[in-house]
């Protein structure tokens, strides 16, 4: 008696789950299914990517899956891709947390005929057809340098705050910034490049030191995201708002306060919604065969034409967030 009673109890947990599950054996055919994975589900950056992706999915009439780790967890990303392979989705687009880590399972998906692309952060090139690249190093560097020149009327001193003097992406951006400076703005001088170890506090003290060492300094350019609010705080506390301008690469939400106070003039990034939108359009085009390796351009709905450079689809020039438009964005 007891025995039957106990087993019944356990069954009563399981049965409703399977009743729900039984509906699934009938699978929707015809409508393409595109699976999009963020580095982490709760990250505002990726939530705004999803908003764009949803819009694209609605326009195209495809079913969009959006799942990822609750925290940025490379192992969990692999598991979710495995599940998507089991379900047999038509295309998978991943923002890879770990370049090597994700590649094996993406290759497995490709082997089963699933179209694979990456966006935001790439996997190894052979594990996907295209990488939807939000910004090239040169594009970011040029946008920052041009904006700095515009704010300084192309003359005077400026300084760079970077994450570290050795990090690959930081060095690359710095190199292109210096190239642009030499080519287009001979009246401007880069007086110093200081590392801040990706720490806001350190950026703040470096910025303070830079301002006292260089009284003629007209602008601080922060090329890692914690340094943008760090530099702004230093300028504000030194009472140099306006006379020392601040620009940098960062998220609107982290800098909103300083931008509205007029401490920070411009935050450079890309429109994350467009990134999600473009990724879903590219995935759909791969599925229906309109986008093939070797293409040089590609049309994505209301956003129009995008350049394709070998195996990378380029989102285009970065976007400038300033006092007039920053409130339209929340990430």
């Amino acid at each position: 008696m007891t025995f039957r009673f106990r087993t019944g109890f356990f069954l009563s947990i399981l049965v409703p789950v399977f009743l729900a599950a039984s509906a699934s054996t009938v699978l929707a055919q015809g409508k393409a299914m595109i699976a999009l994975m963020p580095k982490s589900k709760g990250n505002a950056y990726f939530i705004s990517c999803k908003a764009g992706a949803d819009k694209a999915a609605k326009e195209l009439g495809v079913e969009l899956l959006f799942d990822g780790p609750v925290d940025a967890n490379a192992a969990r990303q692999n598991e979710i891709v495995e599940n998507w392979i089991t379900l047999g989705v038509d295309a998978i687009a991943v923002a890879a947390e770990n370049k090597e880590g994700i590649s094996t399972v993406l290759r497995k998906a490709q082997k089963q005929g699933i179209k694979v692309l990456t966006y935001d952060a790439d996997s190894l090139p052979d594990a996907r057809s295209f990488f939807v690249n939000q910004a090239t190093p040169e594009g970011i560097a040029n946008a920052l340098m041009d904006e700095a020149a515009r704010l300084c009327n192309s003359t005077g001193q400026f300084a760079i705050l970077s994450a570290s003097l050795t990090a690959g992406n930081q060095r690359e951006w710095q190199m292109y910034i210096e190239k642009r400076l030499a080519e287009k703005y001979p009246q401007m001088t880069l007086v110093a490049v200081r590392p801040c170890d990706d720490l806001k506090d350190r950026a703040q003290s470096e910025a303070t030191a830079l301002m006292s060492a260089n009284p003629e300094l007209k602008l601080l350019m922060a090329i890692c995201s914690p340094a943008v609010p760090g530099a702004a705080e230093a300028v504000k506390q030194a009472g140099r708002v306006g006379s020392v301008k601040v620009i940098g690469l960062g998220l609107p939400n982290e800098n909103r306060r300083y931008v509205k106070e007029g401490v920070t003039q411009t935050v450079v990034l890309w429109k994350t919604e467009d990134l999600g939108y473009l990724t879903v359009y590219a995935a759909n085009a791969l599925v229906n065969g309109t986008l093939k390796p070797g293409a040089t351009s590609f049309k994505a709905g209301s956003l129009g034409e995008f350049a394709v450079d070998k195996d990378q689809i380029l989102l285009g020039t970065p976007f400038l967030f300033n006092k007039t438009n920053i409130d339209d964005y929340n990430f």
Binding site: T2, F3, F5, R6, T7, F9, F10, L11, I13, L14, V17, F18, A20, A21, S22, A23, S24, T25, L27, A28, Q29, M33, E63, L65, F66, D67, P69, V70, D71, N73, A74, A75, R76, N78, E79, I80, N83, W84, T86, L87, G88, V89, D90, N98, E100, G101, T104, Q112, G113, I114
Partner: protein, 341 residues
């Protein structure tokens, strides 16, 4: 429980393990039924395929190893919250030994196991030596080991590119089954011998029932406790090697949260959190029930389309554990009600 005495088959039938086995078979059959289909791409996927069973086995090895390590500890009425943190630390130690120091596997593997043993010895020293409460001690080392792993890598370094011979331990097969299954089976048999067939196993339970009494009865409590916590450290290190080989990467956040899955498996397996009562077989069944539930759910199309397989499996695992606890209490509650009448 009030069964007619002397009826041996009944005693076997009504054991907690038997109940778990029934649950395991039922959930497996249900997943087999609803998880087998031709998917959207025309590929037949089945829950019942051998590949899928091996997949489940692979994914449950690390949690299984930790659960095995925890079984004798919980039998002594202790707990070790630090096992998964130690796993993370050992993964980083292994990564540094092979990559930064450049040691061959033949040295790096024993040294990693040694590091695990040392981590376990820290717990043992504080718990057996100073007689501090295991919950507090391992709560401390839970943060300490993970913090150390993060500090050693700045939280950012990921060790990849391990030799293929090592990766085979986590991704390849030995004699037809996933390589790590052999380690799992080896540790399981060892633990079973320890808990159910050795004098030490008897002492472990006695400590769990009545630590004071054990002391007076001549059981060397300190020595026994030291042994189980150091053993847990060693097994955590072994789990670290399996984890690193399976994913091909070692990072400071390896296996975050696994200690809770492992404790869940042990308790679901019928081992009393108050010590003294429980079995290795129960733990193994607990691990299997959770692993099948997780994998089966995560691969049901309706669940994948809900975009929240992770959350749902957490929900159901938690629900299952609570039900198991309540059901375990039922006979007592019923008899209490009867007596009152």
């Amino acid at each position: 429980m009030k069964f007619s005495a002397g009826s041996a088959w009944r005693r076997i039938l009504f054991r907690h393990e038997m109940l778990l086995l029934v649950v395991l078979i039922v959930e497996w059959l249900l997943f087999l039924h609803f998880g087998t289909m031709t998917n959207r791409r025309g590929v037949t996927v089945g829950f019942g395929t051998l590949d899928r069973q091996f997949d489940i086995l692979r994914h449950s090895c690390e949690i299984g190893l930790l659960a095995l390590a925890l079984t004798p500890i919980i039998l002594t009425a202790g707990i070790d919250l630090s096992v998964a943190s130690l796993l993370g630390l050992c993964a980083i130690v292994f990564g540094q030994l092979t990559h930064d120091v450049g040691l061959p596997l033949s040295l790096a593997i024993p040294l990693t196991l040694l590091a695990g043993g040392l981590g376990g010895a820290v717990n043992a020293g504080l718990i057996a030596g100073l007689r501090l409460p295991p919950l507090i001690v391992t709560l401390g080392t839970y943060s300490l080991f993970r913090g150390l792993a993060e500090a050693m890598t700045g939280g950012a370094v990921t060790y990849t590119q391990f030799p293929s011979g090592f990766l085979a331990l986590g991704q390849g097969r030995w004699l037809g089954v996933p390589a790590q299954a052999w380690i799992f089976v080896g540790v399981a048999v060892g633990m079973w011998m320890l808990v159910h067939r050795s004098v030490a196993g008897r002492f472990i339970r006695v400590i769990g029932f009545a630590p004071e009494g054990a002391q007076y009865a001549g059981v060397r409590v300190g020595k026994c406790l030291t042994f189980v916590y150091v053993l847990a450290g060693l097994v955590s290190a072994a789990a670290a090697l399996v984890y690193t080989a399976r994913l091909g990467q070692a990072k400071a956040d390896a296996a975050v949260g696994y200690e809770l899955y492992a404790i869940t498996a042990v308790v679901l397996g019928g081992t009393s959190i108050f010590g003294g009562k429980g079995s290795v077989t129960g733990t193994l069944l607990g691990v299997a029930v959770i692993a099948v539930l997780k994998n089966g759910l995560a691969t049901l199309p309706v669940v994948i389309r809900m975009n929240s397989a992770e959350e749902l499996s957490g929900l159901l695992t938690g629900g299952l554990l609570l039900f198991a606890l309540v059901i375990g209490m039922l006979p007592k509650l019923l008899s209490a009600v009867c007596i009152r009448r």
